[in-house]
Amino acid sequence: MFWLNLVQAQSFMPTPATDIAQRVDNLYSFLLISSLIACIILIGGMIYFVVKYKRKSENDKTPRITHNNFLEFLWSFIPLVLFLIMFAWGWSVYHDMRKMPENALEIHIFGKQWAWEAQYKSGAATSNLVMVPIDTDVKLIMTSKDVLHSFYVPSFRIKQDTVPGRYSTLWFNSNKLGEFHIFCTEYCGTQHSGMIGTLKVVTQQEFDAWLEEESKVSTLPLAERGAKIFQVKACASCHSVADANVKVGPALWNQWGQQRNTSSGDIALNEEYTRESILNPNARVVKGYNPNIMPSFQGQLSEVELTALIEYIKGLK
């Protein structure tokens, strides 16, 4: 039964959505088949021998066979050749994964606890959503704002760590429309398993229209702009805005003006306290919540953006 599973495991890979993914799958099939043959020889041989040479009596005599140069050469040399083929094939696929295309659409990716932020050259910014056109070389220039993360798209078979203080790159060219998971595969704390983004592949026209729309954010009314920023900075992964559900942080829905019981006294949720909580979250933590969870946004938001956020939170009802 395990062998059946092993053979079928091929089909358990997500549908490949890039040429590279297809090449990875071809190599994987080769590895699977070689492994299967190796396991049949090793495990099958073991089962055959133990059945055939089962002890017949306490007085069984066994021959003294200490070595056999020819056999030993064969079973060192054949695996060696196989391993070298696998190595070379793996290298060739890896090389093409790592060779960045020229004239690609460049998108900046920031990993942070616990969201993926994407920044387009036009000024558009998204959170947990990377929008790209189909059949286009896309190059991701990635770094991290805090700890290590790893940007992983199973359908593309690509993965690269994002490292604070360094840039790493990744590229792909999707030949399928649709939505694909972005997982974080480098452990990064509490919400590591919740750090899931969507990579959406659309037609060039849809992409252009979307990009234009997203780039106009600075002309929106304050509260709407605040809503955008709230989404881009992934504030909603910790604070609910449509109900009173408590996530990692306190809910913000219907809270404006309400008294809050904090680590340093009571305070109403007002402009002052909201601003302080965004820029210096540990100053006054609502009781029952852990300090050091929310990152500081000091230096990441302009005055206008801060005001827009406050206006948005004020209006959550």
Binding site: V24, M46, T62, I65, F87, V93, L148, H192
Partner: protein, 529 residues
């Protein structure tokens, strides 16, 4: 071999009594048993944590506890199982007990140092456990920076604890190297030694050379924390990836510290239960040394997507493939040993055959992970989790169980219930495959490791995996019962219940304090059937 003048009721267990006769004992056999009690306890703790992890993953979303608690449980499971169970397991328990016996020595070369190693080990272990009551660690057993820098100070304590326990294995390693060279019975050349001794010898070399790197890493972490020198922390101008190099420079050889002694046990078992001389003795002995040497230059295969250069990745992939060759040689040698043997299926042999089965799967999936283009997809997914459990549990733990049942009569002078012992194998072997095989598929589907929660597509395989873990637990609890019942009320064991040829079977069961009543002289090889 016992002479008529010896009182058969006096052995290393009965000669002295009282707690002090254990805590201050210089007898390698008693020290081995003290390690056994400690490590069994750690195994129980680490195992309960494994059960909790599987229980939490039975369903998506929070099932049992919060994400933070889950991350702590996962960290302690990994750290306890690696640093306190699998790394010290075979050398400290079975190695201590049987290395001197197998070479016909009265004890290890430095008995006092041996006892000191136990105390150092226990000190490190207790230090590690103190973090459970101060700041619990939630970094995963790999302690990657900068997360481990941001998450609290206990990471220094736990790395210190890991280093102290490593210090203990350096001392044990030194002891084993000297013992092997100096205390062999008259007539026993290096190539007359049992292969278990060869594997302990190779392991000892790795322990002595690799463990200091863990100490250097610790010093650098302390220098960064206390003196503010930027080494790993990007905020101070350090490089977090450098930590991974240091960590794996120790931890990759540690993987071979975990598996080499297991391979040694398997060589003993296959030969003894086939009543046949081992095939390719020298090839097996040299491949142990070969693996030990190459294990120092493959660490970068843990870092193919960490940001190391392409050429580094290529070199590490190439060297890793080379390690596959001696491993394959060993597998074929064991197979060839079975050929034309007289094979019996007592529980130790069942575990040895189980080892061959699981290690074959662990081995071929290791080659897949060493293949660059494919590893990019599998890295840090459940495929890796499944792979290393096939090697560490399917390999090392199966060998420990097999070795333990094999040598139990010698250690305690009693026999256990063979039927129940076989049942433990069935439960553990089937449960193991039910638990970990689905994880290969989960990894292929893309499920990342260290996941507290997962998307609905992964649910059914996670459920199967959790159900399998209950079978493994049932198997180990039954094994504990078999052992305890055997020790208390098992029938008396003969000196050589299996008809094996190595020296430990030539003394009485259990052996006297100084192992042999008369120093044995070796005239034949260890596998002259």
């Amino acid at each position: 071999m016992g002479t008529a003048s010896t009182n058969p009721n006096v052995n290393y267990l009965t000669e002295f009594s009282g707690i002090k006769s254990w805590l201050f004992s210089l007898d390698h056999k008693r020290i081995g048993l003290m390690y056994m009690i400690a490590i069994l306890f750690f195994f129980l703790v680490g195992g309960i944590m494994a059960m909790l992890i599987r229980l939490e993953l039975f369903s998506p979303g929070p099932t049992l506890f919060s994400a933070d608690t889950y991350n702590q449980v996962l960290t302690y499971h990994g750290a306890i199982m690696v640093f306190m169970v699998i790394v010290p397991g075979i050398p400290a328990i079975l190695g201590n007990f049987f290395l001197p016996l197998q070479i016909g020595a009265a004890d290890v070369a430095f008995p006092r140092l041996n006892l000191a190693s136990w105390y150092v080990f226990m000190f490190g272990a207790i230090l590690a456990f103190t973090t459970l009551f101060t700041t619990k660690i939630d970094t995963g057993w790999t302690f990657y920076t900068p997360y481990s820098i941001k998450t609290g100070t206990a990471v220094i304590t736990i790395v210190l604890a890991a280093f102290i326990m490593g210090m203990s294995s350096i001392l044990t390693g030194l002891n084993f190297i000297v013992t092997t060279h100096k205390l062999r019975a008259p007539g026993m050349s290096m190539f007359d030694m049992p292969l278990f001794v060869w594997s302990l010898y190779s392991t000892a070399i790795i322990q002595v050379i690799a463990t200091p790197v863990l100490g250097i890493t610790l010093l650098l972490l302390v220098a960064e924390r206390v003196l503010g020198i930027g080494i790993f922390d990007p905020k101070l101008g350090g490089d977090p990836v450098l930590f991974q190099h240091f960590f794996w420079f120790y931890s990759h050889p540690a993987v071979y510290i975990m598996i080499l002694p297991a391979m040694g046990i398997i060589s003993e078992l296959i030969s003894a239960f086939s009543r046949k001389t081992i095939f390719g003795y020298k090839a097996i002995a040299f491949s142990s040394l070969g693996i030990a040497a190459v294990s120092f230059i493959v660490w970068g295969h843990h870092m193919f997507v960490s940001g190391q250069s392409e050429i580094a990745g290529v070199i590490f992939s190439f060297i890793t493939m080379l390690v596959g060759v001696p491993t394959a040689i060993k597998m074929f040698n064991w197979l060839a040993t079975l050929y034309k043997g007289s094979v019996s299926f007592e529980s130790p042999m069942l575990y040895a055959l189980g080892f061959l089965f699981l290690f074959a799967i662990g081995g071929v999936t290791g080659i897949m992970l060493a293949t660059l283009g494919v590893d990019v997809h599998f890295h840090d997914t459940y495929f890796v989790v499944a792979h290393f459990h096939y090697v560490m549990v399917g390999g090392t733990l199966m060998a420990i169980m097999g070795g333990f049942y094999y040598w139990f009569p010698k250690m305690f002078g009693k026999m256990y219930n063979e039927g129940l012992a076989r049942l433990t194998f069935v439960l553990i072997f089937i449960g193991f495959n039910v638990t970990f095989f689905p994880q290969f598929i989960l990894g292929a589907m893309g499920m990342p490791r260290r996941y507290f929660d997962y998307i609905p597509a992964y649910e059914s395989l996670n459920k199967i995996s959790t159900i399998g873990s209950w079978m493994i637990a049932a198997g180990f609890f039954l094994a504990l019962y078999v052992i305890i019942r055997g020790i208390i009320s098992g029938p008396k064991a003969p000196a050589n219940p299996w008809g094996a040829k190595t020296l430990e079977w030539q003394t009485s069961s259990p052996p006297p304090h100084f192992n042999f009543d008369k120093k044995p002289t070796v005239t034949g090889g260890p596998y002259d059937y």
